[in-house]
C-alpha cells in the first residue's frame, strides 16, 4: 500500500510503534475537554442571538440573576472594549477587537448563534433556565449571506467602519468588502493572445464546517488574586493564554493553560470562544466554571470555512503548455474580516510553472459565524475551481489529465506565482506515482468515471519548544509544546529515540501546559512534526552531547574522544582508551556525581518548512436517475518528505480525503429566509459515514526536505485540497456533466443531468 523511497539505516523513524497515548484512548481514560471536573465547579451557558443581523438595544439580566442557583451573568460590559488602535496586538494577523466581539457581541448581533450573554449556575438545568430569563431587545436588520449578494452596492452593511483595503482610490463609503488582494506575474493579456485553447468558468462552493466530533469544552478557574487556570480542548495552549490575556487585559503570566486531549480541530480550535467567557464568569462568581458547547452551538456559533465563488480562465498552446492563467476569488469571511483569501489566492496555481498569472481576491463579510481555519484554509476552494478548469483544458486539448499537469508541473527552481522559488519539492514524483499506479489502469463500467486532481499546501515552521530529560534509570521524558491532534507526540518520541539510540518505549512523550514548557505556536499549518520535531531533535542532540561529556568525565578523557552510537558512549578510537561502552542507564545512574540532572530544553523558530504536493485519482459511479454518487476507488498520492510514523501519515492522508469527499458531495450550511441555520446537527449536516467510502489508498512518496533532520515535511493539509475537483472530474467523466457548484448533492446532479438532455 505504501511506497517509501529511502530507508537509510534508521531504527525507529519510519517504523510503526503503537502510539504511547493509545491505551488511554482505547480504554476511555484519556481526558478530553469535557471529561474533567474541579472542586466547587459550576456550569456556564451562552445565550445566542436568534437573528442573523440585529442591533442589540438592551440586555436585561435582573431576572436571570435573581434565579436561585445563578451565580453570575456576563455580557460585553464585562469585557474590555478594545479600541481600534489596539486591535492588532503582537505579531499575528488576529484582530482582537473583532475576536472580542465574536466571543461576546457588542452593540450588534451579526449572525444566528452570535453570543450575546452568558450565565454561570450551580447546575446546567438552572443555567439553561436562566438564559431564558435574560431579556434581549433586538432591532432586527436586513441580513446578507451569499458572497455575491454581500458585495452588491445595496447590500446590508455589517460594519459602518469597514472600508475596503487594497483598492485605489481609498473608498469613502463603508462596504462588506474588507479587502482586495492581487498577485501578478508576467502579462496575462499577452499570454491569452498566445493561447490556442482557452477555458473559462465560474465555480461556487458552500460553507462547510470542520465538524470535529468533540464540541468545544473548557473549565476556567479565576482565583481571587487574578491568577487563573484554564483547562481546554484546543489546538494551542499558548494561543489560548495569549488570546484570553489580551481579551481580558490580564498579564500573561497570571494565566496557566493546560491542554486537554483534543477530539479533532482541523483548524476550528485555533482560536477561542468559550475560554474568555468562562474566565469572566469565574471571576464574577468566584467559582471554577465549566462550559461545554452543544452540537447545535458548534454549528451556529463557531467558525466554518468560507463559501465562495471563483472565476478561472486558462489559456494554453496545443502542446499543453499553459500560457496564461487568471482568477478572481471571492470568499466569505463571516461576521468579521479574515477569510483565507490570501492562501486561497496563493495556492490555486502553485502546482504549475506559469509565466503569466493574474490573481485577484476579495475578503467579504456576511451574516454568518466568523470563519475559522479549516485544513489548508482557502486552498480546497481555489483548487476545486482550478483543477476543474484544468480538467476542461485537458479535454479540449485531447490530453491525458496527468500528462497536462506534467507538462506544466512546478519543479525545483520554479518561481511560484505567489513569490518564492521552489526547492526540493516532490510534485512531479506524485504525478509519476499516480500515472503508474494500477488504479489508473483499472477498467471502468457504465456510468462510471475517473477524475484526477492535484493540490498544494505551504506548510509552515515557526516557534516551537521541546525538552528532553533523562531520568535516573536512563528512561527519557520528551516534553512537547503542542497539542497532539494527529499522533504527533508519538513522532516526537520516535525522533528523540532515534537520536538517543534507544528503544522508543524508553522515551515517553507528554504535552505540557504553558507554565511547564517554552512558548510554541499552535498546532496547525502541518507544522508540528516539522518544527516541534526539529526542536525535539535539537534537544535530544544536546542531551547526547551532555551524555558524551559525562562519559568522558567517568573515563577521564577528553569529550572529543567520545562518540555516541546505538544508545551507548564509546571511546572514539583505539587511542582514546580501552573502555567498555557506557549505556544511557549507566551514565544516568551516575549523573548526580558527574554534574547533576541531564536534560535540555530548547525554543526555536523553525525555518525551511517544505511545501507539500498531492495528486489524487477518484473513480465514481453515478446513478443517473437519482443523482447519487458512489465513490468506487480513491488513490491519494502525496509527497511526505519522510514519514516519521507511516501509519499516522497514511491516516492524515485518508482523513483529509474523507473530509474533501464530504465537502464535494453533501456538506453545506442551509439557511432559511431569515438567515437562520436550518441544519445545525449531524442529521442534516452530512459528513461521510463509514458506508459512504471505500478503502482509501494512501501512497507516500518520499522526497526528503533537507531542512529537517529526518527530511520530514508537513502532511496534514495537502490531502484535503484535491478531492473536490477529483470527484467533480470523475463525475464529468462518468456522465458528461460538469458540476460547477458544491456540494454535488443528488438533487443538483439530477437537475444537471436533466438539463443536459
Amino acid at each position: 500500500m505504501t511506497f517509501i523511497e529511502k530507508k537509510s539505516g534508521l531504527k525507529v523513524v519510519g517504523t510503526r510503534p503503537i502510539r504511547p497515548d493509545g491505551v488511554e484512548k482505547v480504554t476511555g481514560r484519556a481526558a478530553f475537554g469535557a471529561d474533567m471536573s474541579m472542586p466547587g465547579m459550576v456550569f456556564g451557558k451562552v445565550k445566542r442571538s436568534p437573528h442573523a443581523h440585529a442591533k442589540i438595544l438592551s440586555i436585561k439580566t435582573e431576572k436571570a440573576q435573581a434565579l436561585k442557583g445563578v451565580l453570575a451573568v456576563a455580557t460585553a460590559e464585562d469585557f474590555p472594549n478594545i479600541p481600534s488602535e489596539e486591535a492588532f496586538m503582537g505579531e499575528g494577523p488576529m484582530n482582537f477587537r473583532d475576536l472580542s466581539r465574536n466571543c461576546m457581541a457588542r452593540g450588534k448581533a451579526l449572525y444566528d448563534g452570535h453570543a450575546v450573554a452568558a450565565v454561570a449556575a450551580t447546575t446546567e438545568a438552572i443555567a439553561n433556565a436562566a438564559l431564558d430569563l435574560i431579556e434581549v431587545e433586538y432591532q432586527v436588520l436586513p441580513h446578507v449571506i451569499d458572497v455575491e449578494a454581500a458585495m452588491a452596492p445595496d447590500a446590508p452593511l455589517l460594519h459602518d467602519d469597514l472600508f475596503t483595503q487594497g483598492v485605489e482610490p481609498k473608498p469613502t463609503k463603508p462596504s462588506n468588502v474588507a479587502k482586495r488582494v492581487h498577485f501578478e506575474l508576467g502579462d496575462v493579456k499577452a499570454g491569452f493572445r498566445e493561447a490556442e485553447v482557452v477555458v473559462e468558468g465560474t465555480y461556487a462552493t458552500a460553507p462547510v464546517h470542520q465538524a470535529y466530533i468533540e464540541p468545544h469544552a473548557c473549565i476556567a478557574n479565576w482565583n481571587a488574586d487574578g491568577q487563573s487556570h484554564v483547562w481546554t480542548s484546543s489546538q494551542g495552549q499558548f494561543m489560548v493564554r495569549a488570546y484570553c490575556a489580551k481579551l481580558l487585559g490580564m498579564p500573561i503570566a497570571n494565566l496557566r493553560v493546560t491542554p486537554a486531549e483534543i477530539g479533532g480541530g482541523f483548524g476550528g480550535k485555533t482560536l477561542v470562544y468559550l475560554e474568555p467567557v468562562a474566565l469572566v464568569l469565574s471571576r464574577k462568581s468566584g467559582r471554577p466554571v465549566k462550559m461545554v458547547m452543544s452540537r447545535e452551538e458548534v454549528f451556529r456559533g463557531t467558525g466554518p470555512t468560507s463559501g465562495a465563488t471563483v472565476w478561472v480562465k486558462l489559456g494554453a498552446r496545443k502542446d499543453g503548455r499553459i500560457t496564461a492563467a487568471e482568477t478572481v476569488l471571492k470568499y466569505q469571511a463571516g461576521a468579521f474580516p479574515g477569510s483565507p483569501i490570501g492562501p486561497g489566492c496563493m495556492t490555486g496555481f502553485a502546482m504549475y510553472d506559469l509565466k503569466n498569472v493574474d490573481i485577484t481576491g476579495y475578503d467579504v463579510v456576511s451574516n454568518r459565524p466568523k470563519v475559522a481555519a479549516y485544513r489548508a484554509p482557502g486552498a480546497p476552494i481555489a483548487s476545486f475551481a482550478v483543477e476543474s478548469a484544468m480538467d476542461e483544458l485537458a479535454r479540449k486539448l485531447g490530453m491525458d489529465p496527468i500528462a497536462l499537469r506534467e507538462k506544466n508541473a512546478a519543479k525545483d527552481g520554479t518561481k511560484a506565482a505567489y513569490g518564492p522559488t521552489f526547492k526540493d519539492i516532490g510534485y512531479v514524483e506524485t504525478l509519476e506515482a499516480a500515472k503508474t499506479h494500477p488504479h489508473y489502469k483499472t477498467k471502468l463500467g457504465p456510468n462510471q468515471g475517473r477524475g484526477v486532481a492535484s493540490g498544494f499546501w505551504f506548510n509552515i515552521g515557526g516557534e516551537s519548544s521541546a525538552a528532553v530529560h533523562v531520568a535516573e534509570d536512563g528512561t527519557v521524558a520528551v516534553v512537547s509544546s503542542n497539542p497532539d491532534i494527529g499522533g504527533s507526540r508519538a513522532s516526537m518520541a520516535m525522533m528523540a529515540a532515534e537520536v538517543l539510540g534507544i528503544p522508543v518505549e524508553r522515551c515517553r512523550p507528554v504535552v505540557a501546559d504553558t507554565s511547564s514548557i517554552g512558548y510554541s505556536f499552535m498546532t496547525g499549518g502541518s507544522r508540528v512534526t516539522f518544527a516541534t520535531g526539529m526542536a525535539t531533535v535539537q534537544a535530544a542532540e544536546n542531551v547526547v552531547e551532555q551524555l558524551k561529556k559525562r562519559a568522558a568525565m567517568i573515563w577521564e578523557i577528553s569529550p572529543d574522544a567520545v562518540e555516541w552510537k546505538d544508545g551507548k558512549a564509546y571511546p572514539a578510537g583505539p587511542n582514546a582508551g580501552n573502555f567498555e561502552p557506557l549505556s544511557l542507564e549507566a551514565i544516568a545512574a551516575k549523573s548526580g556525581k558527574t554534574g547533576g540532572p541531564i536534560g535540555h530544553e530548547i525554543s526555536i523558530n523553525a525555518q525551511g518548512a517544505g511545501p507539500g504536493f498531492g495528486t489524487h485519482i477518484c473513480d465514481v459511479e453515478v446513478d443517473k436517475e437519482t443523482g447519487h454518487v458512489t465513490i468506487l476507488r480513491y488513490t491519494a498520492v502525496q509527497d511526505v518528505g519522510r514519514a516519521i510514523h507511516p501509519s499516522y501519515v497514511e491516516g492524515q492522508i485518508q482523513g483529509g480525503v474523507a473530509q474533501g469527499v464530504g465537502w464535494a458531495l453533501n456538506e453545506e450550511y442551509v439557511y432559511d429566509s431569515k438567515g437562520r441555520l436550518e441544519n445545525p446537527g449531524f442529521l442534516d449536516y452530512r459528513v461521510p459515514v463509514a458506508s459512504d467510502l471505500p478503502m482509501i489508498e494512501a501512497v507516500m512518496v518520499e522526497v526528503p526536505n533537507p531542512r529537517h533532520p529526518f527530511g520530514a515535511r508537513g502532511v496534514g493539509e495537502v490531502p484535503i485540497v484535491p478531492p473536490m475537483a477529483a470527484v467533480a472530474n470523475a463525475i464529468r467523466d462518468a456522465i458528461g456533466v460538469r458540476m460547477m457548484s458544491l456540494p454535488m448533492s443528488p438533487p443538483k446532479l439530477r437537475a444537471a443531468i436533466d438539463k443536459a438532455k
Binding site: 499522533g487 499516522y648 446537527g681 478503502m695
Partner: protein, 161 residues
C-alpha cells in the same frame, strides 16, 4: 425535582444511582458515575460517540433516559478490557492506528464489539454499515475497518483453538 433511585448492572458490577427524569443515561454515566469514557458528540443520536451495550444490544446512551436503565445490564467502554488485558478489538485499533484524535474511539470500539459478539466473519460492507452510526472525522474509516477485520480474524482463531 425528585430523584429516582435506579438499580443497574454496569460492566458487571451492581451499580445504583439517583437521577432526575430528564437525565439521559449518558448524562448519568458521565456526570453521576464518573464514567467519562462515553462521549457526547451531538446529543441527538447522530454520531454514536455515546454508544453502550444494553442487554447485549448496541444503543446510543444519549437516546435513553437514565430511569429506563432500571433492571438492565449495561456495558461501556470502561468494561471492554478485562483488568489490564485489552479486548482484541482494542489491541487491533492500536496496531492498525485506527484512531487519531481518539474521541470517537470509545463509541466505535463498543460498536465493533457488539458486531463481533454476533458475527465473527463480517464482510467489509457489513462492517461499514454496522458502524455507519459512528461518525469519525479523522481517519476516513479505512484503518478502522481493517482493525475490525483483523480483530475478527484473531477472535475466529482463538475460537478454533
Amino acid at each position: 425535582m425528585s430523584r429516582t433511585h435506579v438499580s443497574t448492572v454496569i460492566n458487571g458490577e451492581q451499580t445504583d444511582f439517583l437521577c432526575e427524569p430528564q437525565q439521559t443515561l449518558l448524562d448519568v454515566l458521565r456526570d453521576e458515575l464518573n464514567l467519562t469514557g462515553s462521549k457526547e458528540g451531538c446529543g441527538s443520536g447522530d454520531c454514536g460517540a455515546c454508544s453502550v451495550i444494553l442487554d447485549g444490544r448496541l444503543v446510543c446512551s444519549c437516546l435513553m433516559l437514565a430511569v429506563e436503565a432500571e433492571g438492565h445490564s449495561i456495558q461501556t467502554i470502561e468494561g471492554l478490557a478485562t483488568g489490564s488485558k485489552l479486548h482484541p478489538v482494542q489491541q487491533k485499533f492500536l496496531e492498525h492506528a485506527a484512531l487519531q484524535c481518539g474521541f470517537c474511539t470509545p463509541g466505535l470500539l463498543v460498536a465493533a464489539k457488539a458486531l463481533l459478539d454476533r458475527n465473527l466473519n463480517p464482510t467489509e460492507t457489513e462492517i461499514r454499515y454496522w458502524i455507519a452510526g459512528n461518525l469519525c472525522r479523522c481517519t476516513g474509516y479505512d484503518k478502522v475497518v481493517r482493525a475490525i477485520q483483523d480483530a475478527a480474524a484473531e477472535m475466529r482463531a482463538e475460537k478454533r483453538a
